[in-house]
């Protein structure tokens, strides 16, 4: 009998252990799972911006805190020894806690965050942009790409280091020979081979971004390449693609390193801080009146554009730098100098200073000087910082000076004016007519026009051999010089009209053979995004925190529901456990009573069997009245039932929790 008893006890212990495991499992499948999901998202985000330390993990931290609170609540409620509430009511409390820590937080986010986020970001980033984990992931990717593009901008304009300046790389013999090699390779390729060969992103992450940037912003605006006709079908012009790839491949190792370091790289951080201050104080804030808000609300009318371009604004920076009595260059408080790598201008100023040393006032270390007169488009007070080698200027350098920003710099995006395609020139009749009019002694002119007799596309015209001959005859100039002079002239006129703010007109023959005309601000030249993206970058860490929190939103809703079920299931486990324990205890009492009197001389095994049947019936349908009846039939637990308070549901064991 004792053996059967022991086995019975062991069986109960096993059930209790199993129920406990099940209970814990149910709890784990509720709120803690959000932490895991959030962690997956945050790790992916962190990999994009490893330099933002803990910020991308704010979401997982929040999830962790919520989970911790949940665990504490569960422990406080379920492990309390002297609770007067029933297990059912405790379960309800846990369910409420789970809902408050999940769905209620999501509701709060939905109610409070949309307008707050819009206000904090001046209506540049909206809650709807982040409202699910997919969108949040896309936004995170975009925000990380802002950092990468800022690095590209400042590598290629020479600001990060003169080594990576586009013009310097373009003139580099090694790069040129590499470009030639790539060009000849591309000529033999199909578009698919080209893609496979040059854009293996597993081997070179972000190479496509770097290449696109160099190709679109530098090569396609470089008059040497811009008007070249596509020569490889489906790919484009091999010559400029070759140069873009050669440059991209040359700078890629350093770019890749900087992407890892991001804003933790001192030079990148310094450039950001210094140049953004100029963009903000001498740029955006000076436009912060009625007009700039029209731009963001779909009211950029012609009069508004004209006002934004032509109104005489102000520049916050008024003071100029000077060399103090200790030989240090001082940029007074309230001045925001933009720092740019400008080799030609520095060389010109240094050359002028050789003839007239008074135009520069050097600091005591002779590493930088303050311009004392207006020269090369810079006013007195500009700080010249030549590139030094062995303490001597080695050619090129940086200039720090106040900047007159255009309204288009605030936007920072190129504006496509037109794309002219499918133009075929058929001037044979016109040439014949001219030939008939021109006297014999001017027949050389007709000869120069002969190439126009054959119909040709615009691209073929611009790249035909006859055009340079004609231009040489007429103006003794090549096409590129003519177009370059024209575009620069237009820029000069715009600067005069706008009081010094720059805009560029670009002409390019794209890879589809269409002539593209676009207007671009000076952002690429100065290595800056538009104001909105620069501002995002300023608080990118916070934005990543918001993004990581927002990635939780849908999970909080979904796991709010899951948590309710899981907590309820866990509560059922607890109730069953409680009943089993009670049964064990009561059986033990009955056994003790049986040992002292014959009246209860029931076979232990039978009792155990009856108890087991009762338990099974209850466990199979704990809230079924039949289970209760079956239980009652045993006769044993009647006392317990009688002791139940009236308010208790009749099928729920009125057990107090004293586990």
């Amino acid at each position: 009998m004792s053996k059967a008893k022991a086995e019975n006890k062991k069986q109960f212990s096993g059930k209790i252990a199993g129920l406990t495991v099940l209970e814990v499992l149910f709890y784990i499948l509720s709120l803690p799972l959000i932490v895991i999901l959030s962690a997956v998202f945050c790790v992916k985000t962190y990999e994009m911006v490893p330099y933002y330390s803990f910020w991308p993990f704010v979401g997982v931290i929040l999830a962790g805190v919520l989970c911790l609170v949940f665990v504490i609540v569960v422990m406080c409620i379920s492990l309390r020894k002297k609770s007067k509430r029933t297990i059912l009511m405790q379960t309800v409390s846990i369910i409420v806690a789970a809902i408050m820590l999940t769905s209620f937080i999501a509701v709060l986010l939905d109610v409070i965050l949309p307008d707050v986020l819009a206000q904090l970001t001046a209506s540049t980033l909206f809650y709807e942009d982040l409202s699910n984990s997919k969108l949040a992931e896309e936004q995170a990717d975009f925000n990380a790409s802002l950092d990468r593009k800022f690095i590209m901008l400042n590598m290629m304009n020479g600001n990060y280091s003169p080594t990576y300046d586009y013009d310097a790389l373009k003139a580099n013999t090694k790069v040129k020979s590499q470009a030639k090699e790539i060009t000849s390779t591309i000529k033999k390729m199909t578009p698919a081979q080209y893609e496979d060969t040059y854009f293996d992103l597993d081997a070179r992450p972000y190479y496509d971004e770097l290449f696109d940037f160099i190709y679109q912003e530098y090569v396609m605006t470089d008059i040497s390449y811009a008007l070249l006709n596509p020569d490889v079908e489906g790919i484009g012009n091999s010559e400029r693609l070759g140069m873009a790839h050669a440059i991209a491949q040359t700078v890629y190792p350093q770019f890749s390193k900087l992407v890892e370091e991001g804003m933790s790289n001192p030079r990148i951080a310094e450039l950001y801080e210094n140049n953004y201050a100029s963009l903000k104080s001498d740029g955006y804030l000076t436009y912060d009146d009625a007009m700039i808000l029209f731009a963001t609300s779909g009211r950029m009318t012609v009069p508004v554009v004209i006002r934004l371009l032509l109104d005489t604004g102000y520049t916050y920076t008024e003071d100029v730098a000077y060399v103090d009595e200790y030989g240090n260059i001082v940029e007074p408080d309230g001045t925001f100098y933009l720092e740019l790598y400008l080799p030609e201008e520095v060389d010109a100023i240094l050359a002028a200073a050789e003839e007239d040393p008074s135009i520069l006032k050097w600091n005591k270390e002779k590493t930088a000087a303050v311009l004392q007169t207006s020269l090369e488009g810079y006013d007195k007070g500009a700080v010249i910082m030549p590139t030094l080698k062995d303490g001597e200027p080695s050619g090129g350098g940086y200039i720090r000076a106040p900047r007159k920003w255009s309204i288009l710099d605030m936007d920072g995006k190129n504006m496509d004016v037109a794309a002219i395609s499918d133009v075929v020139l058929n001037l044979g009749g016109l040439v014949d007519m001219i030939a008939g009019l021109v006297p014999d002694n001017l027949s050389f002119i007709v000869g120069a026009l002969e190439f126009l007799k054959e119909p040709m596309t615009l691209g073929e015209f611009l790249n035909s051999q006859g055009l340079p001959d004609l231009l040489t005859l007429l103006i003794q100039s090549d096409l590129l010089s003519l177009v370059d002079g024209l575009l620069q002239g237009i820029t000069d006129v715009i600067m005069e009209a706008t009081g010094g703010a720059g805009l560029f007109l670009n002409l390019a023959m794209n890879d589809a053979g269409a002539l593209e005309i676009s207007i671009s601000p000076t952002n690429v030249e100065v290595g800056m995004h538009g104001y909105q993206y620069m501002t995002w970058m300023e608080s990118n860490n916070l934005l990543f925190a918001v993004i990581s929190v927002m990635s939780l939103r849908e999970w909080l809703y979904i796991f709010g529901a899951v948590s309710v079920l899981m907590a309820f299931a866990a509560g059922m486990c607890r109730e069953i456990k409680s009943r089993v324990k009670k049964d064990v205890k009561e059986n033990a009492q009955l056994a003790a009573a049986a040992a002292t009197g014959e009246s209860v001389a029931t076979d232990d095994a039978e009792t155990a069997e009856a108890e087991q049947n009762a338990y099974d019936a209850y466990a199979n349908d704990a809230y079924d009245a039949h289970a209760h009846d079956a239980y009652a039939d045993t006769g044993a637990p009647v006392a317990a039932e009688e002791a139940a308070p009236e308010s208790m549901p009749e099928d729920v064991p009125p057990t107090e929790v004293n586990e």
Binding site: D115, L285, V302, P303, D311, V320, Y322, G485
Partner: protein, 861 residues
């Protein structure tokens, strides 16, 4: 209690709740659904949100869409309160049910009756205030048509073609056409006017001893520097000269830090701030902008307030601020002024004309008003600050508009850009063209070729007298001959352009009628140089403009002296020259047929003087006329408007006073002062001027200001802003006459609250019987529940059960009764015992709640 009775209790308890829900809650739900589908989310019923924070909720709760919901909620609440009171006071269940029903009937009917009585009166009042010809729909009509049930009235988009639908779409069309919102808003919280720039020290103005002074206007060290500040602390600025030496120190401190108002400036001449400041002044009329750390003039800032067009963002001079985008009410006010004033001005003019009288013309009024404005801001009642500001208007306007000098600067930049960047190419081209011309021209009187420098060409035209025969018998030019016409073109440095290369085309010679060589270029010289050339050609042509009575034949011809005169006559007529006179006549006719031509011709502006003989002398030079055309075109896109100086249309009333000889303006120098006598329709003229002022204001605000913000209310305001409304295409659904505007305004004033109320009225009427029915049924169900629960009623056994019982026999029946419980029998026999047994017998959960048996006996009828 047996199981059957228990089931009955459950049944009636459920029915009680279900019936109640089918009454007032269902009515309230219907009202909410009506509001949600018909009114909420519609712009016509939207409320104003002052800030963006939680704007969607503010729009809903501040609007009228929920008016019906509030009424329904009020009805329900009132009935519920009465119900509760009755539960506590009336013990008889049936009486209580009856009372609740009566109260429900009254409470639901009262709003209906009140609406039916009050709203027609209100609509009548609105109708009385409307002008003749504008008729509102009657209340009964609105009640019948504010929504529709007819299936055929459903449009494909699923909307009712009801009065509500027409109203909602009418509002939407209006807003979409003009690109505006229900409520106006500003786009510039900080400054709100483009010309409201941060102030410099030279701008700081204060009053001392009743006299206004610009304290730092002559302090050269700081007068042009921005007044910078810090939100909380004193900010010190060291002013340095070109060498970096400190020449002055200035500190600023916001006086009222909490509100950011006023600035205290301390100024020290010299290199340090030791000792007493040279100047310490408090400037109270300025405010601090935390965003950029600069100070602004308070009177240049706009504020949301009530003004001429209602609640909107106004400048201190009464104009709408640059950053303001119209709300529907303001837009309608402007449109009403625009249409009404035209109608009224026509009426007044016709009235005076029919009486063979005359009133001052628009031009007279406007000229006098401009002079009055000038007088007001120079010698008139304007404050010292306003006078000082007025004296600087040209300087300020230059920053926010394109002056002729700036236009010249841009053209010169173009010339220099071409000369600098493309100088070689152009030089080579000219060289080639010169060479080609030299080879191509065979006339001996014309000599052409490339110049010696290889950067240009020359073409000389001689007369026949300049030709001679050389020794070889060929025809050549005499060595000392001077070209009758000389044309040279070259790309060369020019002193006029700071030594930069520019393209210069030189024209000279007697043949062109010019005494000095004229130089043209692709720069400002194009206009400046071309004008005298053209004028010279005109003068040489001796085109008769008009004749006087002198001379041998009684006619002394006066010739045209400039192109400007020809253009003036061509536009205005009056020339005696055959061709120009005919052109002038044709232009006059065509202008009448095509009004746009008038806009084009108005681009040509002339200063004229009318001579004693009635002839008009044009004093504007041809160059000024051409610059004027460019400037006028640009002015349609880019103009300056002060936020503080009042516009000229504010002075039309004073202009009329002056024209009628008001002695107060005797010294104002008004042209035509006292030209009209008091009895010459002064009252009509005063009203006419008032209308003209409103009209001009409406055209400016709705047209020019609207053009800036992308919401042009007044079509055809200028040649540039065109005939389209807003920035989209014309829509026939917007009101386009005075009557339509007034009707739309009136509808907007009452339909916004009327339709939501009619919606709830409809629900009140339709739901009233059902609500009453279900309240009664709910009461009955409650009573039945109580009767079964207390054993006062027992559920009858089914036939099957009765047969089974009969078959079972009496003894078995006793045994069965023992085996179950004794309670049902006890309950049937003794209701008093129910309270003891009920907890054990009733089903679990809330069904087990005991009834108050102490009251049950009183409730049973």
């Amino acid at each position: 209690m047996d199981q059957r009775s228990k089931n009955k209790v459950k049944l009636f308890r459920t029915l009680k709740v279900v019936f109640y829900c089918l009454g007032l809650p269902l009515f309230a739900l219907a009202v909410v659904l009506t509001a949600a589908t018909e009114y909420a989310g519609e712009l016509a019923y939207a409320g104003m949100a002052e800030t963006e924070l939680f704007a969607s909720m503010k729009v809903l709760f501040n609007g009228t869409a929920l008016y019906g919901v509030w009424v329904a909620a009020g009805v329900w609440l009132l009935i519920a309160i009465v119900h509760i009171v009755l539960v506590k006071t009336v013990k008889n269940r049936r009486a209580r049910t009856l009372l609740v029903g009566i109260v429900t009937l009254v409470v639901m009917l009262v709003p209906v009756v009140v609406m039916d009585l009050a709203i027609p009166v209100k609509l009548d009042q609105i109708q009385q205030s409307l002008p003749e010809g504008v008729t509102l729909a009657s209340y009964e009509d609105e009640k019948g048509h504010f929504y529709t049930r007819t299936s055929a009235s459903w449009t494909p988009s699923g909307k009712y073609e009801s009065n509500n639908y027409y109203f909602v779409t009418g509002v939407e069309n209006f807003l979409n056409t003009y690109k505006i919102g229900m409520y106006g808003g500003t786009k510039g919280p900080a400054v709100n006017n483009t010309s409201n720039a941060p102030v410099t020290y030279g701008d700081l103005f204060l009053y001392e001893n009743g006299k206004g002074i610009a304290v730092f206007e002559n302090e050269s060290a700081i007068e042009d520097r921005l007044v910078k500040g810090d939100a909380e602390n004193e900010l010190t600025t060291y002013v340095r000269d070109d060498s970096g030496n400190v020449v002055a120190v200035v500190t600023t401190k916001t006086i009222d830090e909490k509100n950011g108002v006023g600035v205290r400036v301390k100024y020290w001449e010299g290199s340090s701030a030791d000792g007493e400041p040279t100047i310490t002044k408090d400037f109270n009329d300025y405010y601090f902008n935390v965003t950029n750390g600069l100070y602004y003039r308070t009177s240049a800032k706009a504020e949301m307030r009530d003004g001429i067009y209602g609640y909107a963002s106004y400048n201190s001079n009464g104009n709408l601020s640059d950053g303001y985008v119209f709300g529907i009410d303001v837009a309608l006010e402007i449109l009403e002024d625009y249409y009404y004033t035209q109608q009224r001005m026509t009426e007044i003019s016709n009235e005076v004309t029919l009486a063979s009288g005359s009133i001052p013309s628009d031009a007279e009024i406007k000229l006098a008003a401009q002079q009055m404005l000038d007088y007001y801001y120079t010698e008139g009642e304007a404050s010292d600050y306003e006078k000082w500001l007025y004296s600087r208007q040209d300087e300020i306007a230059a920053k926010y508009s394109l002056t002729t000098d700036e236009l010249r600067g841009v053209l010169d930049a173009l010339g220099m850009a071409i000369g600098d960047k493309l100088g070689d190419q152009f030089g080579n081209l000219l060289d080639l063209v010169g060479g080609v011309l030299g080879m191509a021209l065979t006339d001996p009187k014309i000599v052409a070729g490339a110049n010696a420098e290889g950067n240009g060409l020359y073409v000389y035209v001689y007369t026949q007298e300049d030709l001679t025969t050389n020794d070889q018998g060929g025809t050549v030019i005499k060595p000392d001959a001077v070209p009758n016409i000389s044309v040279t073109a070259e790309v060369a440095p020019s002193d006029d352009f700071g030594g930069e290369r520019v393209i210069t085309i030189s024209l000279g010679g007697a043949g062109l009628g010019v005494t000095e060589t004229i130089r043209l270029g692709l720069d400002s010289r194009l206009i400046d140089g071309l004008s005298p050339l053209l004028d010279g050609l005109v003068a040489n042509a001796q085109l008769v403009r008009y004749t006087t009575g002198g001379g041998e034949n009684g006619t002394d011809p006066v010739y045209y002296a400039s192109v400007a005169e020809i253009v003036y006559d061509a536009i205005n007529g009056g020339s005696e020259h055959d061709v120009i006179g005919i052109v002038g006549t044709i232009v006059g006719i065509v202008q009448g047929l095509i009004p746009t031509l008038g806009d084009i011709f108005s681009l040509f502006t002339f200063d004229t003087v009318t001579e004693g003989n009635g002839q008009v002398t044009v004093q504007t030079s041809t160059a000024d006329m051409l610059y004027g055309v460019v400037g006028n075109v640009l002015n349609m896109l880019y103009w300056y408007s002060s936020a503080e100086i009042m516009p000229v249309y504010n002075f039309y009333d004073e202009a009329i006073a002056a024209l009628y000889g008001d002695e107060a303006y005797a010294n104002a120098g008004i042209t035509g002062f006292g030209a009209y006598a008091e009895n010459e329709y002064k009252n009509e003229t005063v009203e006419y001027a008032e209308m003209l002022s409103l009209y001009d204001r409406a055209v400016y605000e709705g047209g020019m200001h609207g053009y800036i913000v992308g919401s042009t209310l007044i079509p055809g305001t200028s040649l540039i802003s065109g005939d389209t409304l807003g920035d989209g295409s014309y829509s026939a659904t917007v009101p386009a006459s005075y009557e339509e505007v007034v009707l739309f305004k009136a509808e907007l004033s009452y339909k916004r609250w009327l339709y939501p109320l009619l919606g709830v009225r409809e629900c009140l009427v339709c739901f009233l019987p059902f609500v009453l029915l279900f309240i009664i049924l709910s009461g009955v169900a409650a009573e039945k529940e109580m009767l079964y629960a207390t054993g006062q009623e027992v559920a009858k056994k089914s036939k099957k059960e009765r047969k089974a019982e009969e078959a079972a026999g009496g003894a078995q029946a006793d045994g069965a009764a023992d085996a179950v419980t004794a309670e049902p029998t006890a309950a049937e026999e003794a209701p008093q015992a129910a309270d003891v047994q009920q907890a054990a017998d009733m089903p679990s959960g809330e069904d087990t709640a005991p009834l108050d048996l102490s009251e049950n006996d009183k409730e049973v009828l």
